[in-house]
């Protein structure tokens, strides 16, 4: 039958994770419609319409949907699911917030964070922080699936020419209200889509040193900056930079781990990177077991040298 892809966006731009989830959806087989729920999100709907293999874009506009809070977004999706047998979303914080709510409303067990599409109802997904991979087959009449975006390439826009249809947003009452976003301002690439990531751990020692040591190298490389959980817990970096099982899962071309020991939960978030470099004073650190290139040394000496030679 058909697949509904719940688009992740900020009312202005369609996100890279959505393009990756589209690739996963295409592998499941079936017609794909993209749902753009938001406010003033015409540009997002237009961007979705030119994606390859999209049958239609469904646009829902309302004040309640502006920030895609779970209650109104789930009510809207539930009202549309009569026409679909599969619901897909990228496993962004919005997807992870909204989709289980829809799944329960549909009496469906969700399949979270798939990394591979084996068949229309069969998927691989990591469990135990990526220390095991489970293959599961869904037996429910409908399927609700979130996609670990690091595992799929982004669909290339331009080939599609889908119609944009408007639908009325369901009224979900006054359960939740948006107050504010406190977003980190940065000119750097997004962690999830960056080709290079320079990541720092507790060894950086303070938020000033975290900035002053990693930023010059990241700037030279055009890289995103990431952090270990230890660095975030110590207040050296904001939470949205955390790479790991419970933070962001990334798979860049190059991941440079600086002063990160390599706890299981951090490795779960970056071990699918194409090339991993580890810089650490402790040559026994577990990070060296996954690193393609290891450099035993003090990052406060190594990183300035690296920056100078780039």
């Amino acid at each position: 039958m058909a697949i509904l892809l719940f688009a992740d966006h900020d009312n202005a731009t369609l996100s890279d994770p959505t393009l990756r989830a589209l690739t996963a959806a295409a592998k499941m087989g079936g017609e794909i419609d993209i749902l753009v729920a938001g406010k003033g999100a015409d540009a997002v709907a237009a961007a979705a319409a030119i994606l390859p293999g999209v049958r239609a874009v469904i646009q829902a506009e309302s004040d309640a949907l502006e920030h895609r809070l779970a209650e109104p977004a789930a009510a809207l999706i539930q009202s549309l699911m009569g026409g679909y047998d599969t619901l897909v979303a990228p496993a962004t914080t919005t997807g992870k917030n909204v989709l289980p709510r829809v799944a329960a409303l549909l009496d469906v067990m969700q399949i979270s964070e798939i990394t591979e599409v084996v068949g229309p109802a069969t998927f691989k997904r990591p469990i135990y922080a990526g220390n095991a991979i489970e293959t599961v087959e869904a037996t429910d009449a409908k399927r609700v699936v979130t996609v670990r975006t690091a595992s799929f390439d982004a669909a290339q826009p331009g080939a599609g020419n889908a119609l944009v249809n408007s639908v009325e947003a369901a009224d979900a009452g006054d359960l939740s209200r948006f107050v504010e976003n406190i977003l980190s301002a940065s000119d750097r690439p997004e962690l999830g889509s960056a080709k290079i990531i320079v990541s720092g751990g507790r060894a950086l020692g303070s938020d000033e040193k975290f900035q002053s040591t990693l930023s010059p190298v990241a700037d030279k490389l055009g890289a995103a900056v990431g952090a270990s959980r230890a660095a975030v817990d110590s207040g050296y970096a904001p939470n949205d930079l955390q790479v790991g099982q419970t933070g962001k899962v990334v798979a860049p071309e190059l991941y440079i781990a600086c002063g990160i020991s390599g706890a299981i939960q951090h490795l779960a978030g970056m071990k699918d990177s194409k090339v991993i470099v580890a810089i650490n004073t402790d040559e026994e650190a577990p990070i060296f077991q996954v690193a393609d290139y290891g450099l035993v040394g003090d990052l406060f000496e190594v990183l300035p040298q690296l920056e100078a030679q780039l």
Binding site: T93, L105, M109, A138, E253, V275, Y293
Partner: protein, 249 residues
């Protein structure tokens, strides 16, 4: 206000798990089990709400085998007042757990349910959202701050770009993220006291909930390993490798 705190018994987060040779699952025989770390944060938050006067009673609930009593005793030692164990063997999926919790909520009428955002075994991140949907309540997921104000609560959430503050009506389901608080260790006197606190035992049948799994596990495998790397002696050697061997810069 009564607060309900669902907790899950999982493999201890320090254990390096092994996949069974026949690919049927993960070897859990003789492995240390503990309370899911995110649920510990949820228990701590409930206890702090009680200490601040916002909560009056804390009820901990777990769905699992008889040994899940241990994690309920831990919750009681941290400050929960009483506990309910719904005994069930084998895998109980988040949807079934959410249905059982919804049944408990209808009996207990709490003003707030606080639980971890995900369990570190199945990594599903679903139960709280599903429970909220089944109850028709509001949800505040991935919370790093919870402020109760009368009939509503302000929840600060960890989102992809930073933080998001929302204002939700009560009753509500809140799921705890890492930085909501640092859970306390239970003191020995409190561990002793916890042994005397009430712990009710129920079964899924008592609530009329079908817990048959909806997902069929076809196999479990080890993740693909990474080939061993090399140590380099200097920054210039590293850059040479990155430029000419790996060709990533």
């Amino acid at each position: 206000m009564k607060v309900l705190v669902p907790v899950k018994r999982v493999v201890d987060h320090n254990v390096k798990i092994r996949v069974k040779a026949d690919g049927s699952g993960v070897d859990l025989a003789n492995v240390k089990m503990s309370m899911n770390p995110f649920d510990e944060i949820a228990v701590e938050e409930a206890v702090r709400l009680k200490e601040s006067g916002a909560a009056s009673e804390i009820v901990a609930v777990s769905v699992g085998p008889a040994q899940a009593q241990d994690v309920l005793r831990t919750a009681l030692a941290m400050g929960a007042d009483r506990a309910i164990l719904i005994t069930a063997e084998g895998t109980v999926e988040p949807l079934a757990v959410a249905k059982l919790l919804a049944a408990v909520v209808r009996e207990e009428n709490p003003g707030l349910v606080v639980l971890g955002k995900q369990a570190i075994d199945d990594d599903c991140n679903q139960t709280g959202q599903m429970l909220s949907a089944l109850l028709g309540w509001s949800q505040g997921t991935f919370a790093s701050k919870v402020e109760i104000a009368g009939e509503r609560a302000k929840i600060t959430r960890e989102v992809d770009g930073g933080l998001q503050a929302i204002d939700i009506s009560l009753p509500a389901v809140v799921t705890a993220d890492l930085r909501l608080n640092e859970p306390r260790y239970a003191s020995l006197p409190n561990i002793m006291k916890a042994k005397k606190k009430p712990l009710d035992q129920k079964t899924p049948a008592d609530f009329g909930v079908d817990i048959a799994p909806r997902l069929k596990v076809l196999g479990v495998e080890e993740p693909a390993g990474r080939a061993a790397g090399v140590k380099v002696g200097s920054v210039s050697e590293l850059l040479d490798k990155l430029r000419n061997e790996a060709a990533v810069i």
